[in-house]
């Protein structure tokens, strides 16, 4: 089931004109920002398919920018997001991608802030619902409908067991999980879609475990 609850059908509350091109784009922008973990200084955005064809009329560029600024889908500043980005010191580069990407409404976003870099590939699949296909080069399948943690770690025995044990100890139920690795014994990423968001100290404890490189919280369920 791609759509999991009533508010993915009635809703979101949003600034028009397109739930796919505008609201979905805001949400994709927010996921990218959360993956980076801070206000981006520079963003390179490659648009594919229908996004590339019609972004200017739908304000997809403004919506993606708004998401990178952590605006919500119904923030009335979305039509002026380009001006807000300038105020925030975020520079934007727009690129026309070739073909459709993984879906007719796809985008690749690369962000920089200081030494940090983040990259996502995502699509807007209708009604403001999104699908994220890749986080920092790892293949994933997440929606942002649930509090999600993305854990980068080395591909070692016992890592997953220690992560799930920690979540279990905290009484946090895993709705969905997905593992991808670059190669045997190389870097790997595991994403967990959770029924409730873990507290900050749990994230810190997780980060301090052996073989864990980075733990990132992605949560669109909280209003910005």
């Amino acid at each position: 089931m791609r759509f999991k609850n009533v508010f993915s059908i009635i809703g979101p509350s949003m600034v028009g004109p397109s739930s796919s091109h505008t609201a979905g784009a805001v949400r994709i922008g927010r996921v990218a920002r959360q993956l980076l973990g801070s206000q981006p200084e520079k963003a390179q955005i490659t648009l594919f398919g229908s996004f590339a064809e019609t972004y200017w009329g739908h304000g997809t560029d403004l919506a993606l920018t708004a998401g990178l600024l952590n605006f919500d889908t119904d923030d009335e500043r979305i039509p002026e997001a380009d001006i807000e980005a300038e105020k925030a010191g975020m520079s934007m580069e727009w690129v026309q991608g070739k073909g459709n990407g993984p879906h007719p409404n796809s985008v690749k976003i690369t962000l920089w802030a200081g030494e940090s870099k983040a990259e996502i590939v995502a699509a807007s699949i209708g009604g403001g619902t999104i699908a994220v296909y890749s986080l920092n080069g790892f293949d994933v399948q997440i929606t942002g409908e649930y509090p999600t943690i993305a854990v980068t770690h080395s591909d070692s025995q016992g890592v997953l067991a220690s992560l799930t044990a920690l979540l279990s100890r905290e009484g946090i139920n895993i709705g969905y999980m997905d593992v991808d690795r670059k190669g045997r014994s190389g870097a790997a990423m595991t994403v967990f879609e959770l029924d409730s968001a873990p507290a900050e100290n749990i994230i810190k404890e997780m980060t301090n475990q052996p073989f864990i490189l980075e733990v990132t919280m992605i949560d669109l369920t909280q209003r910005s």
């Binding site: 791609r2 759509f3 739930s19 009329g57 009604g127």
Partner: protein, 307 residues
């Protein structure tokens, strides 16, 4: 959720003696682990946004970003003041309200996607106009939104609510089915009658292509919202009168998926086929592209006082 099809949904209602709205609220609360009253409150907030959008759209200050559309809802509302519309007052009001919300959407104003922004006018058009007509309180309409949501949930998971995937039948068509089914329940019809209304409504939208001029949610999307509100009322009336959908609604939803998948890409929200590809559609697209180029060029030039 405990249901994947409308038949399962209607069976749950029958076995537990509940309305579709009640089943949807309970299942939503269980799925998200959020109490029913809080789930209800969020939907109530959404209904307020819908009512605000109706009012905002009727003022006529709804020029879209492209400049192609705006002000038609006010034209219909003004026309209704001058005498009896062909449709009759209540249907014309629903139509005007649906146009109003759709125009607010095109002007980058605040709306609720129901199920999408392209189809955001139909449910508010039908709901707000019938609320005024029958004197219903807000809570009743909020229940109706859960009914509409349950129907949309089944359509979205078994067919599509994305114009890019399934054509306009997936957006405007889904909204008409959702509004029709909800209206049956609001008027006291049974869950089975509501499901028939969905089938009747969707049958009349099959094959509706998504062919927006220049790819924008304006032409023909806005007028399709106006007309969709009227179709939803008609389907609700047929079902309340006892007319059934001989092809069960779930089978119609299956056909939606089949027809949507078979549609050529150009008829699925690319702005390259259908009305978008007419001489006028192409001309408007060309003008917008030129307008865009001029703006980009102006933006790149230093302000005149620096020369």
């Amino acid at each position: 959720m405990r249901f994947e099809t409308l038949e399962q949904l209607a069976d749950i209602c029958l076995n537990e003696n509940k309305t579709i709205a009640e089943v949807m609220m309970e299942d939503q609360a269980k799925e998200t682990n959020i109490p029913v009253d809080e789930v209800f409150r969020q939907m109530a907030d959404y209904y307020q946004v819908m009512k605000e959008a109706v009012q905002k759209g009727l003022t006529g200050n709804t020029k879209s970003r492209s400049g192609l559309t705006g002000g038609d809802a006010k034209k219909v509302a003004d026309y209704m003041q001058q005498g009896e519309p062909c449709l009759g007052g209540p249907s014309a009001t629903a139509m005007a309200y649906a146009l109003a919300v759709s125009e607010v959407n095109a002007s980058m104003g605040r709306i609720i996607a129901t199920p999408t922004a392209g189809s955001c006018g139909i449910i508010p058009g039908v709901f707000v106009s019938t609320q005024e007509r029958f004197g219903w309180d807000d809570d009743k309409l909020v229940h109706g939104l859960f009914t509409a949501g349950a129907i949309g949930f089944v359509i979205a998971n078994n067919a599509s609510i994305s114009g890019a995937e399934g054509g306009c039948q997936a957006e405007v068509g889904s909204a008409i089915g959702m509004a029709a089914g909800a209206m049956v329940e609001l008027r006291g019809g049974s869950p089975q009658q509501a499901v028939h209304a969905v089938g009747l409504a969707l049958k009349n939208c099959l094959g509706l292509i998504c062919d927006p001029v220049a790819g924008l949610v304006e032409i023909p999307c806005i007028v399709r919202n106006g007309l969709g509100a009227v179709t939803a009322l008609a389907a609700a009336d047929m079902a309340l009168a006892g007319v059934g959908s001989v092809i069960p609604a779930d089978e119609v939803i299956g056909v939606m998926l089949e027809v949507g998948s078979a549609m050529p890409t150009k008829h699925r929200e690319t702005g390259k086929g259908g009305l978008a590809a007419t001489p006028t559609g192409r001309k408007l697209t060309k003008e917008l592209v030129e307008q865009r180029r001029r703006k980009v060029k102006e933006a790149k030039q230093p302000p005149s006082d620096m020369n």
